[in-house]
């Protein structure tokens, strides 16, 4: 391989990984930006999503797509229930809410550990082989995930910005009372919003399951990536998250090409800090009151 191909390959790798990161973090961005909740259990729902996809395909013999849909629906319901049963008292308290999700994360991870054991599971790829764009090779399974990721994002963006329920969700979270006097059934929207965020996390886990491995501990990575994406992209800004994820993917890809060791990761954190100082509202962030 010569350098020009290497650089192009790194760009493609970076963009793909960036999209995977975006998928991992978008549910977190939603819950964080819209509901102002730092959801430390995000990674655990990602993990549960991966397990769900695994068991539905391996044990129940479902095809992948229905398994994905079932995972999403199940996760939305589970998320809504958990919000209603556990997180409701913390709706207006960012800090206590955050700690409650830490507790939730502990419970979920260790329940998974009890149920599934510590050893990794592996799911067969949905598709095999390598797709070639000229001299650049990309595993076909990743191409699929990327297409899904893009679809999910567009839908989510449209839901939040253009649909009535999306707007209502933002309104409820900003002011429960005032939203209710716009005719919105406020009580329904908190669980729904959290549920959708959880659903997205689970779908990301399910989509990523065939690419990576599945174990009770796979939630850590998406959580950290989500943190970084949210800082870089700005509070709950979906386009911001998209740009941030791609930038992160590219930075890591080129970084690994240029530096050794943890230099790349250190660099990422330095950029994150610098970014917050220069543009505290994120790459595409707008001012807010």
């Amino acid at each position: 391989m010569d350098w020009s191909i290497l650089i192009a390959q790194a760009a493609v790798n970076g963009l793909i990984v960036g999209l995977l990161y975006l998928l991992m973090s978008v549910g977190f961005t939603l819950v964080f930006g819209v509901m102002r909740m730092v959801n430390f259990a995000h990674g655990e729902f990602y993990m549960l999503g991966a397990f769900s996809a695994y068991f539905m395909t391996a044990s129940l013999g479902l095809p992948f797509l229905p398994a994905l849909a079932a995972t999403f629906v199940g996760a939305v319901v589970l998320g809504a229930l958990l919000e209603w049963l556990i997180l409701k008292p913390f709706r207006n308290d960012e800090l206590n809410g955050m700690i409650a999700t830490i507790g939730l994360a502990m419970i979920l991870q260790n329940l998974a550990l009890m149920l599934f054991g510590p050893d990794p599971y592996s799911m067969p790829s949905i598709v095999k082989g390598v797709t070639r764009f000229g001299k650049i090779a990309v595993p076909t399974s990743r191409v699929y995930v990327v297409i899904f990721a893009l679809g999910v994002l567009v839908l989510l963006y449209l839901f939040l910005k253009k649909s009535g329920p999306g707007r209502a969700l933002r309104a409820v979270v900003e002011n429960f009372e005032v939203a209710s006097i716009q005719g919105i059934r406020s009580q329904v929207y908190y669980p729904l919003g959290f549920g959708i965020g959880i659903g997205l996390a689970a779908v990301a886990g399910a989509l990523m399951a065939p690419l990576f491995s599945i174990s009770p501990f796979i939630g850590a990575s998406p959580l950290i990536k989500a943190f970084i994406v949210v800082i870089l992209g700005g509070l709950g800004s979906i386009p911001g998250a998209a740009v941030a994820s791609l930038a992160l993917g590219l930075a890591e890809s080129y970084g690994s090409l240029l530096f050794t060791g943890s230099a790349v990761d250190m660099l990422v954190f330095l950029i994150v800090i610098a970014m917050l100082v220069v543009r505290p509202k994120g790459i595409l962030g707008q001012g807010e009151a």
Binding site: V38, M106, I107, L113, I224
Partner: protein, 306 residues
């Protein structure tokens, strides 16, 4: 009342075995460190990178001792001072951020410090850490038994609590409170939000550094992983569960949460589930933290009477 309970709790370890003493020492160190976190929190900011400042203090002090042969007391001073300097520079830059942004950036800083400690292994010993750290020593008196160390850390914990209590009865402390409760009003009455928050941050990180240094000398071993983000989260949990708004908060949080995992330790499979559930329940029923427990009881009492 609180004082009486605390005194009883503080005396027990002297009459128990080394294991209880160990937990007691950790609790007192946590009181010190969480006091630092409380200081920052009272200025209206929440740090998720507190353990990183314990790490900076501990590594600087220990390396100053082992590599440069600096005597202990001086190395402690150097460790704390270096940490406060880092906190000053960092705080000056990042304290213009508010709310969750600040939380996230301190988180990022914590990760950065961990990576630095891992990567510059020729100085820091990398992931293997530093072993054989000598026990603390003051003017020739070596704190090599647990009872001695406990006496030292207990005194330091109490002194730090009293100092903070005193500070918040002074105009300076009240100014810090003002900044937390209504920053724009504070600013418009001549209180520099930025400077006061930086001050609180520097003091808070200084306390963390002292705690980190004492921990290093007590355990005799440090590694980057002794101060990872998980520890920062644990500290924050202690603060919130203990109560953010009162001097008793860090005391209650550290004294109850440090040994709490021991309660469930026997239940190997389920201990973390119990712990997580305990967190959620405490937050649910005592959102102001354990320090508000007496008030909650009183309120319940009046409601029952009425």
């Amino acid at each position: 009342m609180g004082v009486v309970i605390f005194t009883i709790i503080a005396v027990i370890p002297w009459f128990s075995g080394p294991y209880i003493l160990h937990l007691a020492i950790l609790s007192t160190l946590n009181i010190l460190v969480v006091n630092g976190l409380a200081m920052i929190s009272r200025s209206g900011q929440i740090s998720l990178g507190h353990a990183a400042f314990m790490a900076i203090g501990a590594y600087v002090a220990v390396l100053a001792g082992t590599q440069l042969g600096i005597p202990l007391l001086l190395s402690v001073l150097i460790g704390v001072a270096a940490t406060m300097l880092v906190a000053l520079i960092l705080g000056w830059i990042i304290l213009r951020l508010q709310g969750v942004y600040f939380v996230l950036v301190t988180f990022a800083f914590g990760e950065l410090i961990r990576l630095v400690l891992l990567d510059f292994s020729n100085v820091t010993g990398g992931a293997n850490g530093i072993t054989n750290i000598a026990p603390p020593e003051l003017f020739g008196f070596v704190f090599d038994s647990r009872t001695r160390i406990y006496s030292l850390t207990l005194v330091i914990a109490i002194v730090s609590t009293l100092l903070i209590r005193r500070l918040f009865r002074q105009p300076l402390g009240q100014a810090i409170d003002s900044v937390a409760s209504n920053p724009s009003l504070a600013e418009s009455t001549g209180l520099s939000v930025h400077r006061l928050q930086v001050l609180a941050f520097v003091i808070g990180c200084g306390l963390a550094a002292l705690g980190g240094i004492l921990l290093a000398h007590y355990i005799g071993y440090i590694s980057p992983e002794s101060f990872n983000v998980g520890i920062s989260i644990d500290l924050l949990i202690m603060l919130v569960i203990g109560g953010r708004a009162s001097y008793w908060g860090p005391l209650a949080g550290a004294i109850i949460l440090t040994p709490l995992p021991e309660l469930f330790r026997g239940a190997v499979q389920t201990q973390h589930i119990f712990y997580g559930a305990a967190l959620i329940l405490i937050l649910r029923f005592l959102p102001e933290g354990l320090a508000a427990f007496p008030q909650a009881i009183r309120k319940l009492g009046t409601r029952l009477k009425a």
